[in-house]
């Protein structure tokens, strides 16, 4: 979409970190960077909240849409190549995808139950991904969560205080984590993660 009549640059989603990130390698670089940081953007995020524990119909609709279930246990998520469904509270989930389609409308069109609240949060959260051998060490600097690899497994998620901010931290892979943060705090968190990664050496992408 180009805004011809206004002489403005091409319309696209601007992330909270747009123009704020210098890519490169920083900090202690005596060895390979221990941390890689990047932003995932643009994303589609839709929140679903059911009044009571989800009905069979609801579960079926979700499974049909995404080919897997909403996770029913707290602190867990289900993930495919494309979609990540994360438990965020009692009877509440967010579904996250890289933005390729109008996810909220899709979900709204399929979930017919009136007791389900569907809220588009695509723009409300920024997603910062951290990878590298020192990731779990870095997370321990900001969050009082046991990130030991035998405790905090892949697909495990927590909502917690992270560097004094409210964040959702999800384990995607052995050392790869995705952190969701309110958009307005994204730059602040990015800077804090950078500071904490200084001693390990880090690379921003």
């Amino acid at each position: 979409m180009v805004d011809k009549d206004c002489n403005l640059p091409q319309i696209k989603r601007l992330s909270a970190l747009d123009g704020q990130i210098e890519s490169g390698r920083f900090g202690n670089l005596k060895t390979e960077p221990g941390i890689l940081i990047k932003e995932n953007h643009p994303l589609s995020i839709v929140q679903l909240e059911t009044r009571k524990p989800p009905t069979k119909d609801f579960l079926k609709v979700i499974k049909n849409l995404f080919e897997f279930d909403v996770p029913l246990s707290p602190n867990t998520s289900n993930v495919s190549d494309k979609t990540h469904i994360i438990w965020t509270g009692p009877n509440r989930w967010i579904i996250v995808e890289p933005e390729t389609r109008d996810l909220t409308s899709l979900v709204k069109s399929q979930v017919k139950e009136t007791t389900v609240a569907i809220v588009d949060l695509s723009h409300a959260r920024s997603s910062i991904e951290i990878d590298g051998v020192m990731t779990r060490e870095l997370l321990l600097k900001g969050a009082a969560i046991d990130f030991h690899p035998e405790v905090f497994l892949v697909k495990h998620c927590v909502q917690t205080t992270f560097f004094n901010l409210s964040a959702l931290i999800c384990c995607l892979d052995e050392n790869r984590f995705n952190i969701f943060i309110a958009r307005g705090f994204a730059l602040d968190l990015w800077q804090k993660v950078q500071e904490a990664a200084e001693e390990f050496g880090y690379e921003t992408l």
Partner: protein, 1006 residues
Amino acid sequence: MLSTKNNQQTKRLSSGGLIDRSKPITFKFDGKPLMGYDGDTLASALLANNIKLVGRSFKYHRPRGIYTAGTEEPNALVALRSNARTEPNTRATNIELFDGLEAKSQNRWPNLFLDFMQINNLAGPLFTAGFYYKTFMGMPGWHFYEHFIRKAAGMGSTELERDPDAYDKKNAFCDILIIGGGPTGLSAALTAGRSGARVLIIDSSKLLGGQLLWELDQIDSKPALQWIESTLEELKEMKNVTIARRTTAFGYYDSNVVNAIESVSDHLPTPEPHTVRQRLWQIRAQKVIIATGATERPLVFSNNDRPGIMLASATRRYVNQFAVKPGNRAVIFANNDDGYKTAVNLAEKDINVRAVVDSRTHVNQFWKTKLEKLGVEIIPGSAVINTHGHFGLTGIDVASLSADQKSTSSQSTFMSADLLAISGGWSPNVHLYCHAGGRPQYEASVAAFIPGVRSQSEYPAGASNGAFSLIDCVTEGINCGNQLVTELGFSKTGFSIPQTDEPTVTPIKALWRIPGKGKKFVDIQDDVTESDIKLAHQEGYISVEHLKRYTTLGMGTDQGKTSNMNGHAIMAEERGEDIETVGTTMFRPPYIPIAMGPLAGRDIGQSYSAKRKSAIHNWHHENGAIFVDAGQWLRPQYYLKNGEANTTENMDVAITREVQGTRGSVGIVDVSTLGKIDIQGADSSEFLNRIYTNGWTKLAIGKARYGLMLREDGIVFDDGTTSRLSEDHYFMTTTTSNAASVLSHMEYCLQVHWPDLDVKISSVTEQWAAMAIAGPKSRDVLQKSTDEEDLSDEALPFMGVNQISINGIPALIFRISFSGELAYEVNVPADYGEYVWRRIMEKGKTDNITPYGTEAMAIMRIEKGHVAGGELDGRTTPDDLGLNKLISSKKEFIGRRLLKREGFLDPKRPKLVGLIPIDGKSRIRTGSILVKDPNASLPMPKLGHVSSGAYLSPTLKHPISLGLITGGTDRIGETVWATSPLHGETNEVKIVDPVFYDKQGERLNG
């Protein structure tokens, strides 16, 4: 580096010790260049250089030397490093020597040897406990005298410069935390580690091993150092065991959370690049083994504070670990077997040990034989009763002690000595046990307080549990480790208890003070003497807490590590009661003094509080916005145009420009910071009805309504507009400052009060960028910006809501107005916020669209008499603010019932009015007080205050204010005085209607 020629380490032994003679280190003490070795502490290096005088005492300025070899050091406090890195009051015994180290002695002027304040020593009897409470009561007042006294008090100095170093924090989790890497801790770690439990062992030193590093013990017939080495090797192989060195646990808090400080770089001249100085650890453990050892106690006798007098264990540590001779001619004075152990040790290290003075009468045959061989005299049943020397010890007087230990023989023997090693027994380090909630109990057999009942999951073991022999420490460590792994569900592993070579022990006999004249120091740092304690008792300050506070016993940087036990025991003797009854003061965290830097971590400077930025922030930044803090948010306060300097005048120009631009044509303001809450569910209307004071059941779909929320006590909580998007779907806005508390309040209502309501709420503040477009041209500009949407009065009337499209971007548009003009609030998904803002600015160019900030917004709302922060101050009722029309009489809502209380109905309550200066130009400051007669006598009756003021209403061309005044709008037309004594301003003001502008609201329609 100094040449070897200048190497003055005259007290360094030629071999031995855990120092690296191949790595000489140069350092300075009081400006004098000196040399030591890698592995030294500052204290050991000073002693190696034969420097004994290192400081002056707190009150009497007596010469003091190095007294201990550890964290308990009360005397050898120095100012470490220089300039912005200065660390006053640093214990020389804990400083790892590094190249270029600079340290200075403290509390002396002009220098260490010639200290004018020594005069205090002569006036000693005057400066007794409680001195200050008994004088300086008259004119000119304490603050006058204090000026001089403060200068004499204090210890180290600081200039409060900004710290160049960085700090960090980290969290840790484990099954078993072991605090202390001595024989107990290492044994426990091995046992627990082998079971597979997650073990974290922390130790404050660079080297693990605790006292095994300097005692000459044998384990399984091999030197203990070998045992440490093999133990550490095995531990390092275990993936489930983590070892943290230079990490000191300083506090044991609730829920088994232990905090520690890791000294990452304190042993270096400056931290390595990208590395912090210190790191705060917060450790969450299921079980905690406290293996923190014990602290040796001094003995209390006359002039027991001279440089050259040292704890016996410290002398062993200096000769064995650091290969330093703390003296040439030594006497040892003890009430326990460690005196003999020390004598043997020192004698074997080429020190002339004259005698062991033992207050007990029975001497173990083992030691008798041993000392005889070494030619050391044993003087049983005796005590050191005085010492000689000034800058250093020159000799001691020994006399025999009566059986009840209350008197000594009149004859005494002089012995020349430059080192007196003393041991009064050991006090277990029960600090962390006490932090955890434990109350230690007195155990007479070891003459010490030892841990009692457990409060949390803390397990004291070894010396910190009162088990002082090596074999007991190792055994307790193993047993404790085994017990805990079993409790945690791991299986025990075999680990046999090793052999040690310790002789049988003759029990300690408590000796709390030795008779004699002269100052007998109990708290050697704060100069608290035995006679101070006696005086405290005589005057009735007999509880240990009164004792502490009256005499300052145990209040120094060492927090009484070497003095509390002796002091409390002396008080017990004075009271004639047993030590258990008299008790002990509570140990408070931190165990050692901790720097503030790591407690703040990285949250300093700009990082003190997170910055929250709207999606349009970058545009504001590029276009001259001056930002103001609104909680964590940054909001444009006003916009300077090219080249304008940020002065008060230009600010006024900018604000006037923004108001006039908006009222004259069109303006735009970023309101993204308003709280936004999505409300869905069948009972949404009912829910709104309960939390707002006004009615919500009849709000049509596509319509917005202003709502007022109260606290349960009837006071106004928040206001905002809420719109009905569909039958069961609402969109609420809140004030910026209350966004979080309103959401929590609503969640509380739904989860706690009314779980039966089908309502789901969610914060969508961050999902939407919001901007208000206001002014007579706002419709035109917005029309041009949208995709041919119908914005006519019919399609979007006042308080109407529509979902429209702006160049393909979905927008939620509300026709609401804070400014009083025809206005729209446009919400678009945040990532498009900046684009939509730019587009509207482009489309508004022909109408001279003006971006405006919070100042212009505030002026326009004052002109319209809308209430905001100044009026919603947590003390006002709806009636106070003229909002009674929003109080429904037809339903229940939060806060309703308490509105009817007598105090709320009091006609004297100040109520909202408008205020105009009579002279038409004087500024009426916010915070001015409204009075009837500004010349009335004090305390002056007050009618109310000015809650929000505009220096100038650009619309009305004169200042306007809102205020709250007794009588409220009934007084319209009256004049009163607005006074700001702080500014020396008093102005006559006229009370007017709070709506200054467009009372009929005609401009809302453009």
